[in-house]
C-alpha cells in the first residue's frame, strides 16, 4: 500500500474537518465498544483468559523458528506447499507464479491485511488476471478504485450506508437501495457468480497451526469458506508471527479474538483448513499453498518490540483509542492504523517514514487495558520515541528543550530562580480573567485553548516562607 504516514498531521486535520466521516466514526462505540463490553461479562474470567492468551502468543514467538519448521513439516505432509516471502514483493511473485502454474485467470479473495502490504490486487491486475474481493468491506473498497482500508476488521468502517448505496448504484448499474439487507443481497448476487467461476482463492490466515499444518479463518460473512473450498487452488497468506503451536491454543485465542473484536462469543464462521482435498472427499481445494510472510517481522522479533507480534488483529486497541476515534484510520497512512499500527507501521516501512505515529498518543493506555494478549502498547510506542531521539530524528528545538528541562530540573538553585521569574512573568501577562491567550513557543496549545495563568508564586517559595514564620 502506498505509504502516506509522513503526512499524518495533514491527513488527521482533513479527517477532523470531514463532517460525514466524523458522523461515521461515531458508529465505533455502538458497533464495537459496547458489544465488547457486554460480551466480557459472559466469560467468567476474562482477565485469566487474557493471561492465557498472552502466554500462548509469547511462547509461540519465543521459539518461532522451531514452530515454523514444525508447521512446514505438517502442512507439507498433508499435501500443501509452504512458500516463504521475505519481502512484500515476494508475496506477489509467489501468487503470480502459482497462478501461472495452474492456468488461473480469475482469483477471488477473502480478507487479508498482509496482502495490502504488497498491494497484491494491483499486481494481479497488472499481470492481466482478474481479482475480486469477497469480504463485503473489501469489496466496497475495491469497486471504489481500491480505496485503502481504514480499520483492520471493518475496512470500510469510514463509509456510511448511504455512501455505499450510491457506490453500488453507480458500479452495479442498478436502482439505488438503502436497506442494509438489500445492499448485502445485491453484493451477494454479484459475488456468487465469481465464486463459481474462479480458479483460485486467496485467503489471509488468522492463525497457522503448527501441530496440524492448518490455517484458521474467522469471518462473519462465510466468504472465506467459499473462497477457500470452491476454486481448484487455495493460497493462504499470513505473517510468520501468526503461528500458534496447537489447536487447543487456537480455542483459547478464539475466545479472546471474537469478543475483543465484535463482542461475539464466536464468529458466524470459523474455518479450519488442513491439507488438500483427499481421495473421496467432497470439499476443498486440489492445490493448497501457504505463503508465510516476513516483510519486517523477524526484525521486530529480534528487537525490544517483540510483544507487538503477539497481536491477533482484533482491532480493540483502535476501537478504544480516543485518537483513532477522532481522526479515523486513513490518517495513519498505511495498512495498520491505531495504536498497534503506530508500532507496526514504523517497524515495517521504516521509522523515518512514520515519525509522527509513535508520538501521536496521549499514553492514556486505553489500548493496553483492552488488548486481549496484553501488548503494552504505550510502552512499545515509548521505545520507538527513544529510537527517534537516539537516531537524531526529532527536531532540534525538541531535543534542546528536553536537554534544558532535565539540566535545569537537576540544578535546584537555578531551577528555583528560573521558575520564580517565569511564573511571575506569565502571571503578570494574564488579564483579569487569569488566562493566557498566547504562549511563547506554545501555539500548539493556544491555537485551540487558553492557558490558565499560574498563580504567580511557586509552591516551594510559599512553603519556605510559611515554614519560616
Amino acid at each position: 500500500m502506498q505509504i502516506a504516514s509522513m503526512h499524518f498531521k495533514e491527513r488527521a486535520h482533513a479527517n477532523m474537518a470531514n463532517a460525514q466521516l466524523q458522523r461515521n466514526l461515531r458508529k465505533i462505540e455502538g458497533k464495537f465498544v459496547s458489544h465488547r463490553r457486554a460480551s466480557l461479562s459472559e466469560l467468567g474470567d476474562f482477565e485469566g483468559t487474557r493471561d492465557a492468551g498472552m502466554v500462548i502468543r509469547q511462547r509461540a514467538l519465543d521459539n518461532l523458528d522451531a514452530w515454523l519448521e514444525i508447521f512446514e513439516r505438517n502442512a507439507t505432509a498433508r499435501g500443501a506447499t509452504v512458500l516463504w516471502a521475505e519481502t512484500p514483493a515476494d508475496i506477489n511473485a509467489h501468487v503470480l507464479e502459482i497462478a501461472r502454474r495452474h492456468g488461473v485467470s480469475k482469483i477471488i479473495k477473502s480478507k487479508s491485511m498482509v496482502s495490502e502490504e504488497s498491494e497484491l490486487d494491483r499486481a494481479i491486475e497488472a499481470a492481466g488476471l482478474t481479482v475480486v474481493e469477497t469480504d463485503l468491506g473489501e469489496y466496497i473498497l475495491q469497486i471504489n478504485d481500491y480505496e485503502p482500508p481504514s480499520h483492520i476488521i471493518g475496512p470500510a468502517l469510514h463509509k456510511s450506508k448511504e455512501e455505499v448505496a450510491d457506490l453500488f448504484a453507480k458500479r452495479h448499474s442498478k436502482p439505488r437501495k438503502l436497506g442494509i439487507e438489500e445492499l448485502c443481497l445485491e453484493a451477494r448476487g454479484v459475488l456468487r457468480e465469481h465464486y463459481l467461476t474462479a480458479d483460485m482463492g486467496i485467503s489471509g490466515g488468522n492463525f497457522f497451526v503448527a501441530e496440524t499444518g492448518s490455517v484458521v479463518l474467522v469471518t462473519n460473512e462465510g466468504n472465506a469458506t467459499l473462497t477457500t473450498t470452491l476454486p481448484r487452488v487455495h493460497v493462504a497468506i499470513s505473517g510468520i508471527e501468526k503461528i500458534v503451536p496447537t489447536l487447543e491454543d487456537v480455542a483459547t485465542l478464539l475466545r479472546l479474538l471474537t469478543r475483543s473484536a465484535t463482542g461475539q462469543s464466536i464468529s458466524n464462521y470459523v474455518d479450519i483448513l488442513t491439507g488438500v482435498k483427499g481421495a473421496g472427499e467432497f470439499h476443498g481445494a486440489e492445490h493448497m499453498y501457504f505463503i508465510v510472510v516476513d516483510a519486517g517481522r523477524s526484525g521486530v522479533l529480534a528487537s525490544e518490540l517483540r510483544p507487538a507480534l503477539r497481536c491477533i488483529r482484533c482491532g480493540a486497541c483502535m476501537n478504544h483509542c480516543p485518537v483513532y476515534q477522532n481522526i479515523g484510520g486513513h490518517s495513519y497512512g498505511w495498512v495498520y492504523p491505531g495504536p498497534i499500527g503506530s508500532i507496526l507501521t514504523p517497524s515495517y516501512i521504516g521509522l523515518e517514514k512514520a515519525l509522527d505515529l509513535p508520538q501521536a498518543a496521549t499514553f492514556c493506555n486505553q489500548c493496553g487495558v483492552v488488548c486481549p494478549v496484553k501488548i503494552p502498547l504505550p510502552d512499545l510506542m515509548r521505545k520507538l520515541r527513544e529510537q527517534e531521539l537516539e537516531r537524531g530524528l526529532r527536531p532540534s528545538h525538541e531535543r534542546a528543550g528536553l536537554r534544558l528541562w532535565s539540566w535545569l530540573a537537576s540544578h535546584a538553585r537555578l531551577y528555583r530562580l528560573a521558575t520564580r521569574i517565569g511564573v511571575r512573568m506569565l502571571a503578570a501577562r494574564a488579564g483579569r480573567e487569569r488566562l493566557l491567550h498566547t504562549l511563547p513557543l506554545g501555539s500548539g496549545w493556544t491555537d485551540g485553548r487558553d492557558m490558565p495563568a499560574p498563580q504567580g508564586r511557586t509552591f516551594r517559595d510559599l512553603y519556605a516562607e510559611r515554614k519560616a514564620k
Binding site: P322, D356, T362, S406, A409, G444, W445, G448, R449, P452
Partner: protein
Amino acid sequence: MRVGFFVTCLVDLMRPSIGFAAIRLLKAGGAEVYVPPDQTCCGQPCYNSGDRAGTIALALRVLDQFERCDYLVAPSGSCSGMIRTHYADVFRDDPGRLRRAEALAAKTWELTSFLTEVLKFEAVPGSMRAKVTYHDCCAGLREMGVKRQPRMLLAKVPGLEVTEMADCENCCGFGGTFSIKFGEISTRMADNKCESIATSGADAVVLGDLGCMLNIEGRLRRRGDAKTRVLHVAEVLAGENP
C-alpha cells in the same frame, strides 16, 4: 508516619494552592508531612519523550530526596504513576538503583488513595454547595487504580452533589507534550470532554491531575464557558477553592 510530599512540578509552578490543600488533608489525616525543599520533576516529560538519560538524572533526585520517608504522596495520578509503575524500567540496567527504585515505588501513593486506604480518612474539612462531576485522569485510573477513592471522599463533602458525566474515563487529550505536538487532535479530544461536562449539568468538574485541569479549563474558556469551574479534588476536600 513520615509522609514525603511530592508537590509535582505543575502544581508547584501553576497552582500552588493545591499543594497546600493536599498538605492540610494529609495533616488532618494524622500524617507528619515532610516537603523536600529541592524537589523539581519526576522525569516523566523526558521519559515519555524517549530521553532516558534525562529521566535517570531526574529520577535519581527523587530517589535521594524521598527514600527515607515512610511514604511518597503526590496530588497527581500521573506523577505517582510514573514513580510507581515506570521507575523500575528507568533503572532496569542498574541493579543497585533498581532495588532502591522498587522500594520507593512500593510506598508511592496518589493522594486520594492514600487518604482512603492508608489514613482511613473520614472527617473531610471542606464543604461546597455545588453540583460537580468527576473526570478520571488516565494514569490515575489505569496505573494507580484511582476510581472510587475520590468519589468516596467527595461523597463526604457537605453540600456537594456528585453527578457522573458520560465517558468520564475517556482521555481529555492532554498527554504531556502531545498537547502541543498534536494541538489540533488534543483540542478535539478536550472538546469531547467539554461536551460531556456541559451535558452533565455540573457547576464544576473535579479531577486529580493538573495536566488535565489546564487542558480542560483552557478549552472550556476558549469555547466561551467562563462559568464551569475546574477544581482539583484536594481543593474541594480541603475547602480551599481558589
